[in-house]
């Protein structure tokens, strides 16, 4: 009997030690001892730190980015005794990799690129991924940024429960409303007046014509990275629903308000009949062959294919259109006359860009958040650093023309020489050089948007995610089954599938989530 107790005791002790050790492993957090403010008011930067920034984009392999970092790090070492490192999340799998990267609690990350409308900024802030930034911290370590954002009155839109969660890219003009880019030359041949698509339904004519007349071209060769994306555009173009940012169900934008009733939340997927029309149209497109039969398993890049002339459309936003696709297509497919039909063009249902479409957060696990802020402040406001991170090394990556415009040295080719540092969480109109290669219609396009677009007024509406998390997850689960198939027109009877989906959404807790968000909106309105 004695033997047994000894064994038990030993076992119990071992278990206790192990449990203790495994628990301790979760809770420890080191306090950065560097970058403290010294008595004379200067900041102690005696220890050399490496600042790691998470960026989204395809990791360049041409060596240009490394060259730039080498030069930039000399300057950063000189100024704040730190160097910058980039961690990439690539476009091919960003929807799965980005959150996983944050969830892993990787302690080596310092600056995190985020956004409230598409990069789950609020979701991750509520999950505690970001370090709350105090006014004092920002004033001390990122004074220039603090001053500019303060002057524009934009700190409020970054606050969660009174704490600043990220730094907005609020001093940079860009329109990121999405739409379909298509070839004007083919649209003209297809008999569309002036070769300009102005209504969602006109795309049917265009795609049909391409399918019938260009045997080697897939009209819109979308793949598994575009799941269900055209249902929402159809709804935007045919109703006055407005997307509510920051409460996506999984990857899906699901909650909306409307022009007529701006303070009432609902979901057109659930409560509006337009979704039936949208799904019918997608079924028609599927039968026409707008995309491959196996789009749901296909892994391709419509933009690259469009440059090569094997795809007739690319879905992305205005900024991509006037900075990349238009200039590139003019060179690679001369005469293609690429145009863009933007969602909501026929009914002027376009939102003004929100100021947190790009933002920088400091990781909650960062070991040296102060130095990270100092580096960020330089990247955003110091002309020398700004040009390195955005344009590269002068002379080899870019040149400045006599009239102060950005241009590229002779023989520079975007396909092989692009810098791709992907710093778009702190661009700054004050330091931005006008780009010689950009499409010259850019200004008109922006002016038009400025005229027709509505202001998004819910930028600092905080939706209580904790209250709805479980139901939202269930909703996301239902959507991930139905929307890709509806969006690619795969159901024999879309109407039946929608009814089925609605039943399941209701069971998943649609009404509870709706009530909870509505309450948040009511409070928000009362405060205003």
């Amino acid at each position: 009997m004695r033997k047994n107790t000894t064994v038990k005791r030993t076992l119990a002790l071992t278990m206790a030690v192990l449990m203790g050790a495994s628990l301790a492993g979760c809770g420890s957090k080191s306090e950065g001892a560097s970058s403290k403010v010294k008595e004379d008011g200067t900041i102690d930067t005696s220890s050399h730190e490496v600042i790691n920034m998470l960026v989204l984009g395809n990791k360049p392999s041409n060596g240009r980015c490394e060259e730039m970092l080498k030069e930039l790090n000399k300057v950063l070492t000189d100024k704040v005794n730190a160097e910058l490192e980039l961690t990439y999340v690539e476009w091919a799998d960003w929807q799965t990799q980005y959150n996983t990267q944050l969830l892993s609690g990787d302690a080596s990350l310092d600056i995190i690129t985020t956004a409230t409308d598409w990069l789950y900024g609020w979701e991750n802030a509520q999950k505690g991924a970001f370090l709350p930034l105090t006014d004092d911290m920002l004033k001390t370590y990122a004074p220039k940024t603090y001053e500019q954002v303060e002057a524009d009155g934009d700190w409020d839109i970054c606050k969660l429960d009174g704490e600043i969660m990220f730094i907005p890219e609020d001093n940079y003009t860009q329109y990121t409303n999405h739409g379909m880019m298509y070839r004007g030359d083919w649209a003209k041949e297809a008999g569309i007046p002036d070769g300009t698509i102005t209504k969602f339904d006109e795309m049917t004519t265009y795609f049909k014509w391409v399918k019938e007349n260009k045997p080697d071209v897939v009209p819109w060769d979308a793949g598994k990275n575009n799941l269900g994306s055209l249902l929402e555009p159809y709804i935007l173009s045919n109703t006055n629903y407005r997307q509510l940012v920051g409460c996506n169900a999984g990857n899906y934008e699901f909650w909306f308000t409307s022009k007529e009733d701006p303070y009432t939340v609902s979901s057109p997927y659930m409560e509006d009949d337009t979704i039936y029309e949208a799904a019918e149209l997608m079924k028609e497109w599927n039968e026409i062959g707008v995309w491959r039969e196996d789009a749901l398993n296909y892994d391709g890049d419509t933009r690259v294919e469009m440059y090569a002339g094997t795809c007739a459309a690319d879905q992305h936003h205005s900024q991509t259109y006037y900075t990349q696709v238009k200039p590139n297509m003019d060179v690679k497919q001369p005469g293609s006359d690429v145009k863009m039909y933007y969602w909501g063009q026929e009914n002027n249902n376009v939102a003004k860009p929100i100021k947190t479409h790009g933002a920088a957060a400091i990781s909650a696990n960062s070991k040296h958040p102060e130095r990270a802020l100092m580096v960020y402040d330089l990247l955003r406001n110091d002309e020398e650093c700004y040009r390195y991170i955005n344009y590269g090394v002068e002379g080899t990556d870019y040149i400045v023309t006599d009239d102060g415009k950005l241009s590229y040295p002779e023989g520079w080719d975007e396909a092989t020489d692009k810098l791709d540092a992907n710093f778009w969480c702190g661009r700054n109109d004050d330091l931005e050089l006008p780009n010689e290669s950009w499409w010259d219609g850019t200004q008109d396009m922006i002016a038009n948007y400025d005229k027709i677009a509505y202001d998004y007024e819910f930028e600092n509406l905080i939706i209580d995610k904790n209250a709805i998390e479980t139901q939202q997850a269930a909703i996301a689960n239902v959507l991930s089954e139905y929307l890709p198939q509806l969006g690619y027109g795969k159901y024999e009877d879309p109407a039946k599938a929608i009814d089925e989906m609605r039943e399941k959404l209701k069971a998943a807790g649609y009404d509870e989530v709706k009530a909870s968000i509505q309450k948040n909106i009511d409070d928000f309105k009362a405060e205003k």
């Binding site: 033997k3 192990l18 929807q95 969830l103 609690g105 999984g250 904790n466 997850a473 807790g509």
Partner: protein, 320 residues
Amino acid sequence: MKATKNKTGTAVMAGRKKPFWKKVKDNRTLLLMCLPAVVFFIVFNYCPLPGVYIAFTNYNFRDGIFGSPFVGLKNFEFLIQSGELWKLTRNTLLYNVVFIVLGNVVQITLAVMLNEVRNKYFKKVSQTIMFLPYFISVVLIGAIAFNILNYDTGALNTLLRETGGDPVKIYSMAGIWPFIIIFCQMWQQTGYGSVVYFAAICGIDSGMMEAAEVDGATSWQRIRYIILPSLKPTFIILLLFALGGIMKGNFGLFWNLVGNNSQLFQSTDIIETFVYRTMTTQNNFSTSSAVGLYQSIFGFALVMFSNWLVKRIDPDYALF
């Protein structure tokens, strides 16, 4: 000698069994040898155990695993309500049952057939070729399958079109995917699995075989009355080991063949792919942990039950 003496010595002294430390000392070499395995299981299987608590919380990073608000069984609620859990359990179990039963039958058949081949050169070559798929990554298998099966440019559909047939939309047909997945699994695993049986066959006493031959047994009779009965212990042990993993799915294979194609979920979604999807695309730790926990508990119960069953039929074959 020494051991006997010790034993009697202790018995006389205290009338008790050997003390614990004494036992440890006597068996120290054996204990030392199994130490790495013990440490491995403690570190990778027991230390993370407290983390299952996530399944009962509304997890967020700031409060951490143990600080996040406790929500009881809420994470399981929807899974059960929507029938999701039933579908996942059914798919995972059925796939594994087929993998285990069909897999072993095919492996044994192949091993026996290989054994009957007399030409040494042919035997080696065919063994190597059978072995090869085992070393191909599932990512490649997914790509190969897509290139054969896709509608627009796939090899199969091109062949059908060229010969005047109607192409088939394989990636929309949930019904035939179980066959495709089972085929891929067999193709990849059979060669490797049959080696174990082949080795067992080689271990059969050659005297028995020769005696059978002298007595005029045909090769069919030799297989039926000597080889197959000799394989029974190997078969049962492998079967029981496989049962331990019956709730585990081959994530790599399923994910690479099906991916996010929701048209096929009904017949291809297994627990592993569901957990991966909810965690990565929906950023949802709690629900995926809940499913994971369910998988472990259900799997555990299943193993205990099958062991109990085996014990009742033939105690010699029980695992523990």
